[in-house]
Symmetry: C2
Subunit: 289 residues, 2 copies
C-alpha cells in the first residue's frame, strides 16, 4: 500500500474510534473536520519513509507513530486557529474548526486529538511494548513543555522570545519526532535521523515565514501577515526576502544531505527534496534559482 | 511514605520536567499553578489505595498512574475554568490559571498537562511496558472522546444532552480509571474495581450538584449556581434537595460495599467512606442523617 493510503487509513481508524456510541455530535464533527481532508501530511510521510529505510518490520507501529504525529499536528492547528491565538477563520482553504463548530467545541476537539494520539500509540504498542516507551517520550517531548509545540506557542505570549528556541519548539521538534519515530517504530536507532528532522523543521519554518510575508490568503489557505503584525520571530524580517529564500534553499540541501546511509537512501533523498520543495512558495524559489 | 506524600512527590517530579532549560516563564507558572496546591487529590489517593490492596509490587508505576490521572484532572479544571466554559475566575479559593496567566497561556498549560500525563506514564512504564498499554488505554478512554472528560464537556454544547452519558463522561470515567488503574499498575485484574469507581464518580457528581446548588462561593472555592444557570443535567434539579442528599448517601454506601475482597479491605472501605464524605456538603448530610 502506498504511504499516503497507509496514513489516511490509520487516521481514519483512529478518528472512527472517537465516533462510537453516540458521541456528542458537534465534537464528533469537529474532530473529523480537524483531521480530514488533510494537508500534505508531510510529517507522517517522513515517519513512514524513515521506517521503511529502517526495515519497517512492524508496519502497524510505524503507521500508529505516523498517525499520532499527524493527530498532534492537527490538534495544534485547531488550537492555533482559535481567536485567542491566530484568530484564523480559514485553514486549508476551508472554514477552520471553530468557525463551524464554535470555540468551546474546537478547544475540546484539540484536547481529544491530543489524547487520541497517545491512545493510538498504545493500541499499536501492544505488539511491541518496549518500543512504546521511547515513542511516547519522543512524541511527548515534541508537543509538550518545555521543548514542544505548547512551549513554542507559549513563547508567543512572552516579550522578545528567544528566536531559535521558539522556532525549535513550535515547528522543529515535531519534525525531529517525525523522523526519529520512524526509526524507533522499526526498532532502529533514532540518532542518525535527528539531523534530517532538524533541517526539515527549520526549512518548514522559513518557508512558512516566507508564505506569511508574501502570499495572498488565497494561496496560503489561511490569513497571512500575522507573524509580522504580531511581532513574532520571522526569517523574512531577520534576513530579508532574498536572504530568507537563500536560507530555505540551503536548509533543503542540508536536509537532503542529512539522509543517513540506509536502504533506498536515494529514493528517500528525492522524497525529502520533493516534500521540502512543496513547503516553499514556488514563485520565489524559481526566481531565486 | 504516606499516600499524600507519594502523590505530591510524583506530581512535583512531573511538573519539574516541564520547567527545565529556560521554559517560557508564563507557561511554567501556569502549569505549576494548575497543579499546586492541590485539592483533596481524591482520584490519585484512590489509585494508590487500590494498588496497595492489589499488592503494589511496582510502586513507581502506581505513583505514575496516580500522577497522570491527577494531571489530567488538573488539565480539565484549567480548561473548564476558561471564559468560554465556566468562566470561573477562582478555583480552590485562589485566582484560576487564566485569571493570572491569561487565557492563551492557560489553554496551553492545559494542553501541556495532558501531554505530561502520558509522558509520566511512559517514563514509569519502562519498568513494565506491558502494563503501560492498558494504563494508557484506560486513562485515554477516561479523558478523550467519546467516553471521557472532553466528550462530557462537549455535551454541554449540545441541546438536552443525555444525562447519564454526560455525567459518566464528565466525571465518572476518571473515577473508574482511578480505581482500575491502581489494579493495572500493580499487575492485577482491574474488573473487580470498576464498580467502586462508578459509584464514587456518581457520588462525586451528585455532591458537586449539591454544592453548586446550595453552597456559597466562599465554601466552594469557585463560583456557584452555574449548572442551573446553564441548564445542565443536575441531580438537585431532578431530585430536589432532599432527594439528591438521599441519593448521595446511597451512592456512598454502595461505593463502600463495592470494595472487593482484598488485602486490607476494611481500611480501604473506611478510606472510601471518608473520601466520599469529603465530597459532600457536610451541613446537608448532617441534617439529613
Amino acid at each position: 500500500m502506498e504511504a499516503g493510503e497507509r496514513i489516511e487509513r490509520a487516521l481514519e481508524l483512529a478518528v472512527q474510534r472517537t465516533e462510537a456510541d453516540n458521541a456528542p455530535p458537534k465534537l464528533r464533527g469537529a474532530i473529523r473536520h480537524g483531521v480530514f481532508p488533510g494537508g500534505a501530511r508531510v510529517r507522517p510521510r517522513l515517519t513512514l519513509a524513515v521506517a521503511q529505510a529502517c526495515g519497517d518490520d512492524m508496519p502497524g507501529m510505524a503507521e500508529a507513530a505516523a498517525a499520532a504525529i499527524e493527530l498532534l499536528h492537527c490538534a495544534s492547528l485547531v488550537h492555533d486557529d482559535l481567536p485567542i491565538f491566530d484568530d484564523a477563520d480559514t485553514r486549508r482553504g476551508r472554514p477552520s474548526v471553530h468557525a463551524i463548530y464554535s470555540v468551546p467545541v474546537a478547544l475540546l476537539a484539540g484536547d481529544a486529538l491530543i489524547v487520541l494520539a497517545f491512545e493510538t500509540l498504545a493500541r499499536a504498542g501492544a505488539e511491541a511494548p518496549s518500543r512504546l516507551v521511547p515513542l511516547i517520550s519522543t512524541i511527548g517531548r515534541a508537543v509538550g513543555a518545555p521543548y514542544g509545540i505548547t512551549a513554542g506557542q507559549a513563547w508567543e505570549s512572552e516579550i522578545n522570545p528567544p528566536a531559535e528556541q521558539y522556532r525549535c519548539a513550535k515547528t522543529g521538534a515535531l519534525f525531529v519526532a517525525a523522523t526519529t519515530c520512524g526509526a524507533i517504530a522499526a526498532g532502529a536507532d533514532p540518532t542518525p535521523w535527528r539531523k534530517l528532522g532538524h533541517r526539515l523543521g527549520e526549512a518548514y519554518q522559513v518557508a512558512d515565514d516566507l508564505l506569511d510575508a508574501v502570499s495572498s490568503a488565497d494561496l496560503h489557505g489561511k490569513p497571512v501577515g500575522r507573524d509580522l503584525a504580531l511581532g513574532r520571530p520571522n526569517a523574512v524580517a531577520e534576513l530579508g526576502l532574498t536572504g530568507a529564500v537563500e536560507r530555505l534553499e540551503m536548509l533543503i540541501r542540508e536536509a537532503v544531505d542529512a539522509v543517513p546511509p540506509s536502504k533506498g537512501e536515494d529514493e528517500l533523498r528525492e522524497l525529502v527534496r520533493l516534500q521540502a520543495l512543496r513547503l516553499a512558495p514556488k514563485r520565489l524559489l524559481q526566481s531565486a534559482a
